[in-house]
């Protein structure tokens, strides 16, 4: 499986209703198991789902924008309607039928149960020190 299979993929909720597309994939470092070649392993944490057809989120979905105010307002407007789908709510991923087409991500919950991105990404700006476990 590739990251490209997820990026841009259509998102369907538990009822089969198309609720948007994957705008971004958030990843997080985890402690590596004993014997691994690196100290950490990088795993998918969840998907940013853009619910508007033409929403591009103008690259502000990776973190909230605190200022200057014109950019903050633009970012809030861009992220409006975006939803956060943590990986546990992802039931399956169907790859595209042919190269260049979009894949499909299936969720185990109704689309209405996904929390707004703006409710969860307020903490994404913080850069805690190594070992604090947050981020």
């Amino acid at each position: 499986m590739r990251l490209a299979d997820l990026m841009g993929a259509r998102v369907r909720d538990r009822d089969g209703r198309e609720i948007g597309h994957v705008s971004d994939v958030r990843l997080r470092e985890h402690p590596a198991p004993d014997g691994a070649s690196a100290d950490t392993v990088l795993k998918v944490e969840g998907l940013v789902v853009a619910t508007r057809v033409r929403a591009r989120l103008i690259a502000y979905d990776h973190r909230p924008v605190d200022g200057p105010w014109p950019l903050a307002r633009l970012a809030r407007r861009a992220a409006r309607g975006a939803r956060w789908a943590p990986w546990p709510v992802v039931a399956a991923h169907e790859p595209p039928d042919r190269l260049g087409d979009l894949g499909t991500v299936l969720l185990v919950v109704p689309g209405a149960e996904l929390v707004p991105l703006t409710d969860v990404h307020h903490g994404w700006n913080t850069t805690p020190s190594p070992g604090s476990g947050a981020g």
Binding site: V25, E29, H30, S37, D61, G100
Partner: protein
């Protein structure tokens, strides 16, 4: 200044590029299309895609950086993706049809650049480029006198 270089590498391991448990990234902002450099800051390639290994008991794990046109094509979408993939297949001189991959265990830092720890002999991430240098550029008159 070997000591200064060693200090700089040590700073990289604990600085803003360091990979530590709990650190999170946006795939689109922090990883895709980022420049990949080796331990001596020499450009290697760009992150064209990531290989994900599915885990039935948890989220997928990133196992490799995919590099080259075969990796980039699926991200372009539509006819452009199929055209680039077809051109890549026609020009392919590497082994197999899949994209070149860099084991993610070799990634030592993620920041303004993605830093990798490559062996001296490097890996064949640019098979077409290597072939062109040896068989086309290298045979041009005066190629032996090129600087750099």
């Amino acid at each position: 200044m070997p000591d200064e270089e060693a200090d700089a590498r040590e700073e990289t391991r604990t600085g803003p590029e360091a990979r530590w448990a709990g650190r999170a990234y946006s795939a689109r902002f922090h990883l895709l299309d980022r420049q990949v450099v080796d331990g001596d800051d020499r450009p290697v390639c760009k992150v064209d895609d990531l290989e994900l290994e599915l885990d039935p008991d948890g989220p997928p794990r990133v196992t490799a950086v995919f590099v080259g046109p075969a990796a980039l094509a699926p991200r372009l979408g539509g006819k452009t993706a199929r055209w680039l993939a077809a051109v890549q297949r026609r020009l392919s001189v590497g082994e197999g049809e899949g994209p070149a991959r860099l084991d993610f265990g070799r990634v030592t830092g993620i920041g303004a650049v993605v830093r990798v720890d490559l062996p001296e002999e490097n890996v064949g991430v640019h098979a077409l480029e290597d072939w062109t240098r040896e068989n086309v550029i290298g045979r041009l008159p005066g190629a032996d006198h090129a600087s750099g």
